[in-house]
C-alpha cells in the first residue's frame, strides 16, 4: 500500500478506533457469507442499520463530494476499506449501490440524478440491484432483449432479468434495456429503474446450487420509468455498462468495502491450514499446502498491484489491458482460494455451515460453490477471454 500522509494517518487511527468502539453485537441468526445471499428481513435491517452508522462515521463515501452525501476527502476510502476488512465487522449490504451504481452515476449522471440517488447508495438506505443478465442473453451481454419503448416523458419496460442479487430488497435497479432493434451495441440504453413498489415489476427469488436463495429473476410487464431516470444518452447503454463493469472489476478503491479482501482471504487459508490436521500433522506443515498458499498470496498481490499499475499509463501497453482482466482474475482467484480451502479442510469440507464441526462456519465449500456465480455472471469468463483476446490483443472475433 502507498504510504500515508499525516491526514490519512490520522484518519486511519480514527477508523481503527471507531470500528473498535462501535463493533455491533452479532444478530440473533447467523449472517450469510456475502450480501448476495441475504434473504431474511431481520438480516437486511441489521445490515442497513450498520451501513448507516459506518457511513455516518465517514467510513463510507469518504472520497465522494459532500453534496452527494460524501465527505470530500482524497485517498481515504482505501484506508477505510482496509480497516473494515481488518476489523472483521459485518459486511456493507449495499454492495451494488456502492460498487456499481454510485460510481457510474457519479461519472455519467445529471446533477439531479447524483443528488437524488448517490446519498442513498452510500448510507445504505436505498438498496440497489443489477439488471444486466437475461435468460436468453446468456454470456453475451450485448444481446439484451428487454425492451424500453418511449412513451411521452416515460419509457415502458418489458422483459426478463436474472441473477439479480438483492432484488427482493432493492429500491433501485441499474438496468440495461433495448431501445433499438436495429443496432446491437448502440441499441441499448441505461436506466436507473425504480423496482420496489413499481406496479409492472415482479421479483421472484431463485434458489442457488447451495440451497441458498438471495438472487432473483425480475419480470417487467409494462413497467414505467421516467425519462429523468435515463442515464446518459439513448443508445449509450453498452458504453456506460462497460464503465460500470470496470468499477465492479476494479474493486480496489470503490465507494466502500471490498479493498483488502484479497490478502485477507489468503490469511484465512493460512489459519485454516494451521487448525486442520492431516495424517497426524498440521496441514500448515504440508509442503504442498504451503506451496499452494504461497501461490495464492502471489495471485492476491498481483491483482492488487495490477489495480495500482492500471493507473500508471507509462507502465501500461494498452489502456484496457489491465481493467479488462480484473473480472477474470478476481473471480478465479476467489474460486481457487475456496477450492483450496475445501482441500485443506479435507473430510470436514463435507459439512454444511449448520454443522458445529464445519471449519470457519462452513465457509469453504459454500464459498466454492458460490464462486461459480462470479465466473459465470456478467459475461462468463470464457466470453471475457474472447474480449481480452479481441480488444486487447487484436485477435479476430470468435463469433
Amino acid at each position: 500500500m502507498a504510504s500515508l500522509n499525516a491526514e490519512q494517518f490520522e484518519f486511519q487511527e480514527f477508523a481503527r478506533r471507531w470500528l473498535d468502539e462501535n463493533r455491533p453485537a452479532p444478530p440473533e441468526e447467523r449472517l450469510p457469507i456475502t450480501p448476495l445471499e441475504i434473504m431474511k428481513e431481520s438480516h437486511r435491517d441489521y445490515l442497513q442499520d450498520w451501513q448507516g452508522k459506518v457511513h455516518a462515521a465517514g467510513l463510507v463515501g469518504a472520497d465522494y463530494p459532500v453534496e452527494y452525501g460524501g465527505f470530500g476527502h482524497e485517498g481515504f476510502q482505501g484506508i477505510a476499506n482496509q480497516e473494515l476488512a481488518r476489523a472483521g465487522t459485518p459486511m456493507l449490504i449495499n454492495i451494488v449501490g456502492l460498487n456499481m451504481a454510485a460510481p457510474t452515476i457519479l461519472a455519467h449522471g445529471t446533477e439531479e440524478q447524483k443528488k437524488l440517488l448517490i446519498p442513498g447508495c452510500l448510507s445504505g438506505s436505498e438498496i440497489w440491484c443489477q439488471g444486466f443478465s437475461e435468460p436468453g442473453a446468456g454470456s453475451d451481454m450485448a444481446n439484451q432483449q428487454t425492451l424500453a419503448t418511449a412513451d411521452g416523458d416515460n419509457w415502458i419496460i418489458n422483459g426478463h432479468k436474472v441473477w439479480t442479487s438483492l432484488g427482493h430488497f432493492a429500491k433501485w435497479m441499474i438496468l440495461i434495456a433495448r431501445t433499438s432493434k436495429h443496432h446491437k451495441y448502440d441499441g441499448l440504453t441505461y436506466f436507473l429503474m425504480p423496482i420496489a413498489g413499481n406496479a409492472g415489476v415482479t421479483v421472484r427469488p431463485l434458489v442457488k446450487i447451495t440451497g441458498e436463495s438471495g438472487f432473483n429473476e425480475v419480470l417487467f410487464e409494462d413497467a414505467v420509468v421516467s425519462d429523468d431516470l435515463r442515464l446518459d444518452e439513448v443508445g449509450k447503454g453498452w458504453t456506460v455498462a462497460m464503465t460500470t463493469l470496470t468499477f465492479e472489476r476494479g474493486a480496489a478503491e470503490s465507494a466502500g468495502g471490498g479493498g483488502g479482501d484479497f490478502a485477507r482471504s489468503v490469511q484465512k487459508l493460512v489459519e485454516l491450514a494451521r487448525s486442520s490436521r492431516r495424517e497426524g500433522r498440521s496441514a500448515s506443515d504440508d509442503p504442498l499446502v504451503r506451496d499452494a498458499i504461497a501461490g495464492r498470496a502471489i495471485v492476491a498481490e498481483g491483482i492488487r498491484q495490477n489495480g495500482r499499475r492500471a493507473r500508471v499509463p507509462a507502465l501500461c501497453d494498452h489502456p484496457m489491458r489491465l481493467p479488462l482482466q480484473q473480472k477474470v482474475t478476481a473471480s478465479e482467484f476467489s474460486q481457487g482460494n475456496s477450492r483450496l480451502g475445501v482441500e485443506i479442510a479435507g473430510a470436514h469440507s463435507t459439512l454444511y455451515k449448520l454443522d458445529p464441526a464445519a471449519p470457519d462456519a462452513g465457509y469453504w465449500p459454500l464459498s466454492y460453490m458460490n464462486s461459480y456465480g462470479h465466473t459465470i455472471a456478467a459475461g462468463t469468463n470464457e466470453i471475457q477471454r474472447n474480449i481480452l483476446g479481441e480488444r486487447v490483443l487484436g485477435l479476430p472475433k470468435s463469433k
Binding site: 434458489v207 473430510a347 463435507t350 454444511y352 464441526a357 465449500p365 461459480y372 462468463t380
Partner: protein
Amino acid sequence: MTESTPKTTKPSNVASEPMPKDFGFGPDEEMLRDLAKKLLDVEMPIEKMRRLVALDPTSTYEQGERPGWDEELWKQCVELGWTGLAVPEELGGIGVKMVGIAGLVEEVGRHALASPLIATLNATYALREAGTGEANAWLARIAEGRAASLAITNQHGSWEQASSDVVASRTADGLSLSGSAFFVQDAFKADFFVVLARADDRSEADSDESYLLCVVPASAAGLEISQDHIHDLTRDQATLRFDNVSVSSDELVSSAGALALVRAWPAILSTISADLCGTSEWQLQTTVEYAKTRKQFDRPIGFFQAVKHPLTNAMIEIDRARSLLYHAACCIDSGSDEALDMARMAKSAASDAGRFMSDRSVQLHGGIGFTWECDIHLYFKRSMHNQVLYGDGAHQRRLLAVAIMGPISSSEVTP
C-alpha cells in the same frame, strides 16, 4: 475368534492368479452391470431422484432433515443380491469379482443412487479380510440383506488405518467401547457398524495389534448416532458416540483390525473410484448434451473450443481413471501385490477427474447450472464428497510416492 489372521497386507480373498487381458470383465460381469443400469434407468430416473432428495432445500439445509431415499428400490436391490455382491458364495453371497463390482458401482454413481450399497460393500471388504468365524457370521447376515457401514475414522478425518478415537476396554463379559467415530457414511441406513477401536491394554506403538475390529448393531445400547449436516444430498453421514457400548465375543471380529483394513483398502478405494467414475461420466454426457443444444451467438456452444476442449480433457481424465480402476480391480481379483498401489492410482485419477469434470459441469452450464432446479448440483456434491473420501488425489500420491521412491530419507526438513 476361530481363525488367525495372516500377517500380510495383501488382500487374502484370492490366490495370486494370472492377470487376464480383458481385466476379467466377462459376460457375467457385463450382464450384472447392464442389469443394474436397466434397473436404475427405470426405477431411478433423474426426475424421481430430484423429487426424492432435492424437493426443498430449506428442510434439508436449514432444518437439517435427511434427504429421502427409495427404500422400496433398495429392497429390490437386496433381492437381486446386491448386499451379497462381495460376500463369498459359501457364506450365501454372490462373490462377484471386484471388476464386476466396479462396473456395477459405476452405474450406481451414474444414477447418483442414494442407498447403503457402497457403505455395505466397504464393510464387507473389511469383514472379509478379518477372516475370522465371527466375521463370517456377519458376512452371512449382509448376504441376507443387512446393510452395514465402517466406523473407522477419527475426528481429524485421517483416512489411513490405525487411527481411531474409539477405545475398547476389557470387561468381565467381553469389551466395552467408548469414544467417537467420525465421518461414518450412510449411518442412518445401516443395520450395524464395523468399528475400529484401539484396545486400551495394548501398546500404541504396535499399531497393527493395538486395533480391534468390532461389530456394533445400530440399535446397541449406549450408541448414539448423531447426524452430520452435509452438502451431499444423496447420502447421509454421522458421528457415532459410544458410551460404554458392550461388545460380545461374536461381535469382536478381528484382533488385528488395522491390518484387516489395510488389506481391504484396495477394494474400498476402488469402490469409491467406481462411484466417482460413474458420476463423472454422467456429468460429461449431460454437459455434452447441453452443449449441443444451448445456443450462443447463433451456434450451439459445443462449437466453441472453450467448451469443446475442456469436455475433451475431462473425457481423457475420466478414461484414465476408468482404465486404472479396472486394472486395480483386476489386481485385487488376481491377488497381485500391486493392488494397493494401483487402487491409489485409480483413486487419485478418479478424484482429480471428478474435480475437473464437476468444475466444468457447472461452468459450462452457465446461469442455469448455478440454480437448484438444474440437476448438475446433485452430482457436483456427490462427487465433491467422494473426492475427499478415503483420501484425495494428493493424499494417494503421497503414499504412492513412498511405494515408487521409498520414504523421505532425510530427517532434516527444508523450510
